[in-house]
């Protein structure tokens, strides 16, 4: 218990520090965990309580992600994001897998690393767009839809990788029955749920908290992947009143997610792995490079210029919460260490890249052969694309 309190206060100080200097906080929480835990001073160790709290952090991260996914809106925007999403998926997933496999990870571990390698941090991308005042750029819409595409890939991955034994068809049937039950309950109990959410007392918060935990426990009992079910549950509740559920679950997400990150760092043992440190750093640097390749490809394909590619790259280079989530759910010791390092390196480089993307663009255009005048972002942007 004292360990958790110590870790929390270290994170509180780090949060004050990172917000003051507009830095991403996730890598610092993980570094704090590494220093406090097995890889460092061994002041804090994971126990039953910390494991429960980190589980809560993961559940609320996924629930929150589910609330953000609006199937109808995605359906209307499909042309805008399918092509860029597929470019992003192929380049990063394939490169990540090949690198991990060549470095000696097993087939399963290489797949896990490839997914963590592929999926950018939505939280850091959104913060970067807002803090660096980039919302007006056309690329910011591309980045936002890329993040949604990655979320959907993650959901599909969680649905298929989450099963622990059992016939795949049986699991699909179970998922369908459970989803059907949730949809039926939320459909017929809609007015009652809305009336509860409107209350001023403890009921809305209690309802949100216990519903998320309840779905996770139920999924475990009947043997369907809980991470997938929690996201799907969030998406279904998002059709009732996404803002109310966000308000009532945000405090849980904010606190438990910090516990999740710091204890992930605490349980990672960097020195035990069979993979040498230089290989881990090589993967991290390749993670930056591969997002550069995919960013440039998307920039050329959608916005028809290289500057957009650099803008997309600089905002999506950071890996973060979802990579850590993948490591926490599936990772062996060596995989977790690799992903932790990758998140730290990419998110710090990504934060600086996003801040100085303007200068990088100028450097880049002076390197390129035909030096064209910098085109206005609005004139050159996607003239063929339709937005509502």
């Amino acid at each position: 218990m004292e360990g958790i309190v110590l870790a929390l206060f270290v994170c509180l100080i780090l949060a004050l520090f990172t917000k003051r200097f507009a830095l991403p906080s996730i890598p610092f929480y993980i570094i704090a965990g590494l220093l406090l835990g097995e890889s460092g001073l061994e002041l804090v160790a994971a126990d039953e309580i910390s494991r429960f709290l980190t589980d809560l952090g993961l559940l609320f991260l996924l629930f929150f992600m589910g609330l953000e996914i609006k199937p109808g809106r995605i359906w209307r925007n499909q042309s805008a994001f399918v092509s860029s999403g597929l470019i992003d998926l192929h380049i990063n997933m394939i490169l990540g897998f090949l690198v991990a496999y060549v470095l000696g990870f097993s087939l399963f571990d290489a797949v896990i690393i490839a997914v963590a390698f592929y999926i950018s941090s939505t939280a850091m991308a959104v913060t970067s767009l807002i803090e660096n005042h980039k919302l007006l750029l056309r690329e910011s819409e591309t980045v936002v839809w890329l993040m949604i595409f990655e979320d959907i890939v993650l959901i599909i991955f969680l649905a298929f990788m989450g099963n622990s034994g059992g016939h795949p068809l049986l699991i699909v049937v179970k998922i369908c029955i459970l989803l059907g039950a949730i949809i039926a309950i939320t459909h017929f109990g809609r007015h009652y749920l809305i009336s509860i959410l409107k209350r001023e007392d403890e009921l809305p918060v209690l309802l949100t908290f216990s519903a998320v935990l309840g779905i996770a426990a139920l999924s475990n009992t009947i043997g369907v992947p809980e991470s997938f079910m929690v996201i799907a549950f969030g998406t279904i509740l998002g059709t009732i009143d996404p803002i109310a559920f966000e308000i009532h679950s945000r405090p849980f997400k904010d606190v438990f997610l910090v516990v999740f990150f710091v204890f992930f760092g605490i349980t990672v043992n960097l020195s035990s792995g069979a993979i040498p440190l230089f290989a881990i750093i090589a993967i991290s640097l390749l993670a930056i490079l591969s997002k550069f390749l995919s960013g440039m490809a998307i920039g050329r394909y959608i916005h028809k210029n290289n500057h957009s590619g650099i803008e997309i790259w600089s905002n999506t280079a950071s890996r973060g919460e979802f990579s850590i989530a993948i490591a926490a759910i599936y990772g062996s010791a060596a995989v977790s260490g690799t992903i932790a390092t990758m998140v730290i390196i990419t998110s710090i480089i990504g934060a600086f890249a996003a801040k100085f993307s303007g200068r990088i663009q100028k450097k880049f255009s002076s390197l390129g052969k035909p030096v064209r005048p910098v085109p206005g972002t609005l004139e050159t942007a996607d003239s063929g694309r339709k937005d509502d």
Partner: protein, 161 residues
Amino acid sequence: MALRSINLPGIGTKYELETEKKDVVAVFFLKNGNIQMYTLPHDSSDPSVAELTSAEARRLGTILTGAIMEADRESVEIAFSALSDLRISIHTYTIGKRMANKSLEELQIRARTGVTIIAVSRGEKNVINPPPSFVFHEGDTLVAIGETDQLKTFEREIMVD
């Protein structure tokens, strides 16, 4: 003038307006409650940004609708949703030489224009609903209520020096 609005998941709602001269004004209502306003001149690719709280944004909005004019000559128009054809304007005026030292009765404001004077502010003192015998001084600020046309008549017939 082209206005488009779009919902950006995780960020908020964006409203973008292109002016006749091809300048762009974009307003983002962020999920954290703050508002970012971007302006991009047609001949530049560097936007400028202002971050506003919702109170500041409302104030800016009132200014842009033209409701607040000069500080000493403000006007507010009131419309009731249930009475769509009833539009009442409240306007402030500063008394000049011509109206000074005359009483409300003498000026015959209501009879001649239909406008009612509902308050007069003199220095630190406010007189609400001044009586017919009330005499104006130079520099008084008066608050008049009426339809826009009536107020125009008032400005033309009585205020003009």
